[in-house]
Amino acid sequence: MNLTGWEAVFFWVFAICAIFAGLLTVMARNAVHSALFLISSLVSVAALFILLHAEFIAGVQILVYVGGVMVLFLFVIMLVNVGAEERGRDEIFNHPRQVGASLIFCFLLVGGLLFAVNKGYQGLRTRDEAKLVQGAEDRINQEKSLSRSGTGTTKITVDTESVAQSLYRYASLPFEIASVLLLVAIIGSVMLARTLKQEVSADDVAPEELPEELRRHPEVGKVEVGT
């Protein structure tokens, strides 16, 4: 799956961008900056996906990950993080001991991972030499047979189609389960984020804790009726 020519260039651009953005994510002082850097990292990775002929996944990444999850992150940052800067210069990193140990571990890990990747790839390539060549040729032939788009400049790939074919045929059960999982996540997040007042009005406080809570937060007891 060699990428050649402009694909290689774009690969390197987006790769460096992703890594850089990721690095800045963990190093940014401001949480919002952190979120934005993460968004850029995600978008870079989506571009890498496109380079890997996984357009659908790239789209899903942008829409769901960036458009949903990161927005949620930003909302929560607004809710939670607002007073952090006003309180002064707080440390953003942990105790040096922890940071030092983590860095050592990470360096060792990255060394090991890189080594493993290289080693594995070598073995993989030696094994799949012929297939790779064959695959590349097939790809080229396949690309030739692709239909052109409406404008005539690009070809319409069949990647998304084959993903759909696989997803809805062989992975339909996981698909449904995933939807149930999302449902559970919705309910869970709603429940987790309720205030005490909301819980009392929904009658979801344990009876033995209610008096305690009412004593501590008397305003909870005042339930507005009507309006």
């Binding site: 990428l3 690969f11 994510t25 963990v26 979120a35 993460l38 949620l72 983590s102 993903v163 987790l192």
Partner: protein, 132 residues
């Protein structure tokens, strides 16, 4: 370190590993993607372990998941190339990873909000109730 540099120099003298690298750079293949994924993964891990802000930790976790996604997709492409019938499983799995990441982010942030309401803090080192 010095030994590594020295070894590198020596190897360079003995056949040009740098030129090899230049060549391979012109044709990035699976290994490059995997390396990128690994590096992203490590960055995410470092962020989880190092940052004090709980939201940033969550974002680092998203980075980790993303790196894993990259890995999946890269392999999916590679397997397509090598003619494996289950090649698309990588992409499908990536879909599910994204789904799970989204759900997990939602729940996790809900917890963060509840935690913030109780503890009034977002610094994880202040949340040490399990300390002896």
């Amino acid at each position: 370190m010095i030994l590594t540099v020295f070894a590198f120099v020596v190897q360079e003298a003995s056949g040009g590993v740098l030129s090899q690298m230049k060549e391979s750079a012109k044709h990035p293949d699976l290994s490059k993607f995997l390396v990128i994924g690994a590096i992203l993964f490590i960055i995410g891990v470092a962020g989880v372990l190092t940052r004090r802000n709980i939201i940033v930790i969550f974002m680092s976790i998203e980075l980790i998941l993303n790196a894993a996604n990259l890995n999946f997709i890269a392999f999916s492409r590679y397997l397509q190339e090598t003619g494996n019938v289950n090649a698309l499983a990588g992409q499908i799995f990536a879909v599910f990873v994204i789904v799970v990441a989204a759900a997990e982010a939602a729940i996790g942030l809900g917890i963060v909000i509840a935690l913030y309401r109780n503890k009034e803090t977002i610094w994880v080192d202040e949340i040490d109730l399990l300390k002896w």
